[in-house]
Structures are given as C-alpha cells and as structure tokens.
C-alpha cells in the first residue's frame, strides 16, 4: 500500500511511542470489567494519569470508582472479577488481569476503602507488612518517613490497630501503603467517616506526600470539594462510564459539578425541580 498516507517505520513508531508514553504513567484504554462472568460494572472506561499528578475520580455510590481502582491494582481477581476488554498500560506495559503481587511489585499500591487495618497487629507491625513487596528488606528509614508524615502514629507504635480511632487508622493505612515505596498510590475514599478537621489534615498530608515524595496519586472520593482542592485533574464517573473530565480548576467551576457534587444550586436558593432541564441532568447523574 504505497499510497497509504501514514507509513511509519517501526523505529519512528517506537520513538513516537516512547515520546508519547514519557509523561503518562498509567493509561486505561476503554476497559470493561465483569464480575462473576455476568455482572458488567465498567463499560469502557478510559483515563490517563501523568507522573506526579493527583487525579481525582468522582462519582456517586455504585458508579464504578472502586472497581476502577481494583482493576488497576489487580484486586478484582480475588473477588471473581476480570477486565474483559481494553488495556491497562502502566509505564507502557500491559497490566490488566495480572496478580496483585506482580502489580504491587511494580509500584502500584491501593489503600483500600474503609481502612482495613490488621486489627491484631500493632501499629508498627501493620506498617511492616507494607514491606512485603521487597521481602522485608531494611525498613527503619521508611518507618521514620511514615512517622514524619503522621507524627500521631509515633506515639502508639505498640498499640493494637484494632483499638485505634478512625482517624489514626486512616493515617495508618496510608502510611502502610507508603512503606511499599509506591510510585502510584490508589486512595479509596480516605475521608470516609472522618470529622471534617481530620479530613482536612489527611488531605493536606496526601498533598505533601505527592509533592515531597513525587508519588502519583489517584484519589477516589465522595467529598468532591476536598478532592478538587488538592487534585490537578478529575474524572467524573457514572454507571460504569466516565461522563466528564477536566482540570480540577475547570471542574470546580463546572455548573453540573457545582450543583450535584458541591451542593451549590445554580439559583442560589433551594433546589428547584421546576427547572426541567436541571432535573433531567440530575436524573442522568445520580
């Protein structure tokens, strides 16, 4: 096909690919996720995350945010889920349906929703489990790093995690993730069930981790206001699809996001369902 207008030599193709991939740490290309072979949860989700970004994934309950994270971290498998279509590229390498061990060793760590501590292990032992990806090699420095970000944990290293408060546990599980030297940290609703002041503190620390460690972060949140404050880019999910994306600044100003996530009605007063257009949009969203 000599008359084909785009004929790349393999080298050019490779160069282009390298140039293209350089900034993108993670790419989801049109992935579908099915649980138990029948329940389709994600229907073609595409997103990309650049190095050192904080990308926020917003959406209501059941939109597929957590499933998206699990697809990336490989935790779908134990729950009988699988990526059936599309590809997950991490540093240009296909990662879909790999085992969690392999994925964590590549530097992707998910901090699970609902905190999930090891209840019968002490704080320090909990943190030590975070060294599993490198088989427990020296960890003292990492402990210091975690205590540097979360000074509250230093005072209770010998306390059983089962007896810690929600805020302490959230710090613990993020710290536990940090112990694994993640390049990409997936945080699933770190604000869940925490007092507003704690949420602010923890989000501040997340931002610092991102800036000081250079860790790329995907942040799944219901608390859109806080998430958009620290994120650089955001996606909105609904019914297993991405319905909107944009820079965090643009999202904050978006009227739909404002109304349905930030709780500000357009008219300023109580929400009016007489406005049919808004109602229809709302129906589509929630």
């Amino acid at each position: 096909m000599a008359d084909h207008p785009f004929e790349f030599s393999p080298l050019a193709f490779l160069l282009l690919r390298v140039a293209f991939m350089e900034e993108k740490l993670l790419q989801l290309n049109n992935i579908s996720v099915v649980y138990s072979d029948v329940i389709q949860v994600l229907k073609g989700v595409s997103l990309s995350v650049e190095k050192k970004q904080i990308v926020s994934l917003l959406g209501s309950n059941g939109a597929g945010k957590t499933t998206t994270l699990k697809a990336i971290s490989g935790l779908l498998k134990p729950e009988n889920g699988a990526v059936t279509e599309g590809a997950i590229l991490y540093k240009g390498k296909a990662m879909q349906n790999r085992s969690p061990e392999e994925i964590t060793r590549n530097g992707i760590i998910q901090v699970l929703e609902g905190r999930q501590p090891f209840k019968y292990l002490t704080i320090e032992e909990n943190l030590r489990v975070g060294t599993a990806t490198r088989m427990g090699k020296p960890y003292r420095e990492d402990l210091e790093k975690v205590y540097h970000y979360f000074p509250a944990l230093r005072r209770m290293t010998k306390k059983l995690a089962g007896y810690c408060s929600g805020g302490e546990l959230q710090m613990l599980v993020i710290g536990r993730g940090l112990m694994a030297h993640p390049e990409l940290l997936l945080l699933d609703e770190p604000s869940l069930g925490l007092a507003p002041i704690l949420v602010r503190e923890i989000f501040g620390i997340i931002k610092r981790i991102n800036e000081e460690e250079g860790t790329t972060i995907i942040l799944v949140e219901q608390n859109a206001r806080m998430a958009l404050k620290i994120a650089t880019y955001a996606y909105v999910m609904e019914n297993g699809k991405i319905v909107m994306e944009g820079s965090a600044d643009a999202m904050r100003e978006n009227p739909d996001v404002k109304e349905f996530y930030l709780g500000m009605s357009l008219s300023g007063g109580a929400k009016s369902y007489e406005n049919v257009k808004s109602y229809k949009r709302r129906k589509r969203w929630l």
Partner: protein, 292 residues
C-alpha cells in the same frame, strides 16, 4: 500426696505432648482459618518417617530427627501445592472437607505400607535425661518433649513477633484482602503455614511414638484430641494450645486416677462442650475486636 504428685506430673507430661500436637493445628487455623482434620495423620506420618530413618536407614539419632522434620516440612508444602492451592478462593468448607479426604488417604497409605502393627523405636534416649527425685518421677521421653516443646515455642514466638515473614503470615490471617493489597504473597504464606504445621505435627508424632509406640490408629486418634485442646486454649493461640494441652492432660490423668479409667477419654470432650457453651473463644483465643 504421693499419688497426687505422680498424677500431676504424669498429666502435665502427657498434656505437654497434646499441646505440642495442637500447635501445628493452630498454625494452620491462624493463617488460613482451615480446620485441619488430617492433623492426626500428619502426626502419624511424622512418626513413621522417623521410623524409616532410625530403624531402616539406621541414621544417627540427631540426623534422623532433622531428616524427619525436613521431610514433614516438604510434605506440608506438597500438600498445599497439590491439594489446597487449586481451592484458594473457594468456600472454606470445601477446603475443610478436603482435609477429611486427605486424612482418609494418608491413613490408607500408611496401612498399605506398614499395616496396623505396633512398631517401636529402639531405646535411644539417655537415662540421665529423666528426673527421679523422691516422689517426682519424670521419664526421659517427657523431659525430651519438654525441651523440644519449649524450644519450638520460643522459636515460633520470635518468628511470628519479629521476623517479616512471620508478620506477613499474621497479616494474612488477620485481613487477607488488605494483605493482598500490599503485595503479600498469600500462596507462600499458606504453603509455609502448612509446612510448619506438618513439621510440628511430625515432631509430636516422634514423641508420641516413643511414648506409646507407633500405630496408625493410636496416633491419628490424637488428631481428634487436638479439638478439645484447641477449643479450650483458643483456636488461634499458640500459647493457648500448650496450656489447653496441659489442662486436658492433667484432667485426664486425675479422672483416670481418682474416678475411673474408662472415664478418662471422655473428659476432654465433656470439657469441649462446656467450653463451647461458656467461653467459645477459649481461654486465650482472640475475641473479635468490634468497632463501628
């Protein structure tokens, strides 16, 4: 008083052997929540391994013992690889039923090779090991058991408390999903816990073989006695297994001495029922930490 002391020492000695046997059982339950019904058979296999190494291969004692431990360790890994790995992620009841099947298989294999005869080891323990002071009389076997038991208790204590692999094993037992999310190799943890359990079981098999002689039926019956011991001590507590074993052992010999020998074997199961009624987590078992 003489009689009492005699019974007490006898009870503590057998109790310690029970505790040792139960330790391996607890190990598997702790890491994977599997009740291992083949534990008695693992004990028996350990005893027969030692028999092979000592009487047939005529290896020196220490070497034979180490070989036995090693063979049991490998057997544990093999069991996990071949039979249990395909069942990871399946309902727990399948795994437990599988151990029932394994028990039948192992018993059949032993019967096939050795029959139901009673074998004995050559007398190898030095007499000096025993304690014989006035009314306290402890045979060498029990002293050896005590030493081995305490040694392994300390080793496991250190392993689970300070070594990374030990902490990973506890983390899997605690919250498997979270352990997976941090990249803990759950299959390795399961393999290791079966290996360690088989090793401990084999060790107690050797001890029991020295005490009672080697016979499949007698040895695998201990596997059943493990249940009252671990229920009493707490299913997930290693120290509980030892203390549960001691209590059951003492109660057994006291009933045998003061009440009737025929009641002896019933007592553990009566205790089992009572404990389940009043303290289902056992003496040292972890009660569920509930927080909302």
């Amino acid at each position: 008083m003489d009689f009492f002391m005699q019974l007490l020492v006898g009870g503590l000695s057998t109790g310690f052997v029970y505790g040792l046997s139960a330790m391996g059982f607890v190990m598997i339950f702790k890491s994977s929540s599997v009740l291992n019904f083949a534990h008695g058979e693992l004990i028996a296999i350990g005893a027969y391994f030692f028999l092979i190494f000592v009487t047939w291969a005529k290896l020196p004692l220490v070497l034979a013992f180490l070989f036995t431990l090693f063979a049991c360790f490998l057997l544990g890994i093999l069991i996990e690889r071949i039979f249990l790995r395909p069942l990871i992620g399946e309902n727990l009841i399948f795994v437990i039923m599988l151990t029932v099947g394994l028990a039948a298989m192992f018993r059949g294999l032993i019967l096939l090779f050795w029959g139901g005869n009673l074998y004995t080891y050559p007398d190898f323990l030095p007499k000096a090991l025993g304690v014989d002071r006035g009314i306290v009389h402890i045979p060498p076997v029990y002293m050896a058991t005590l030493i081995i038991g305490i040694f392994f208790l300390i080793v496991f204590g250190i392993f689970f408390k300070f070594f990374s692999q030990g902490i990973y094993m506890r983390s899997v037992a605690d919250n498997q999903r979270a352990a997976l999310s941090l990249g803990v190799n759950v299959r390795r943890v399961f393999a290791l816990s079966w290996a360690i359990a088989a090793l401990v079981a084999g060790m107690s098999g050797v001890v029991l073989g020295v005490i009672n002689g080697i016979n499949v039926h007698n040895l695998s019956a201990i596997g059943l006695k493990v249940f009252p011991v671990v229920i009493l001590g707490g299913l997930d507590s290693i120290i509980g297994a030892i203390i549960g074993g001691l209590i059951i052992g003492v109660l057994e010999t006291f009933t045998g001495g003061y009440l009737s020998t025929s009641l002896r074997d019933v007592v553990p199961y009566i205790i089992l029922v009572i404990i389940l009624l009043v303290k289902p987590y056992g003496l040292f078992g972890l009660t569920e930490i509930e927080r909302v």
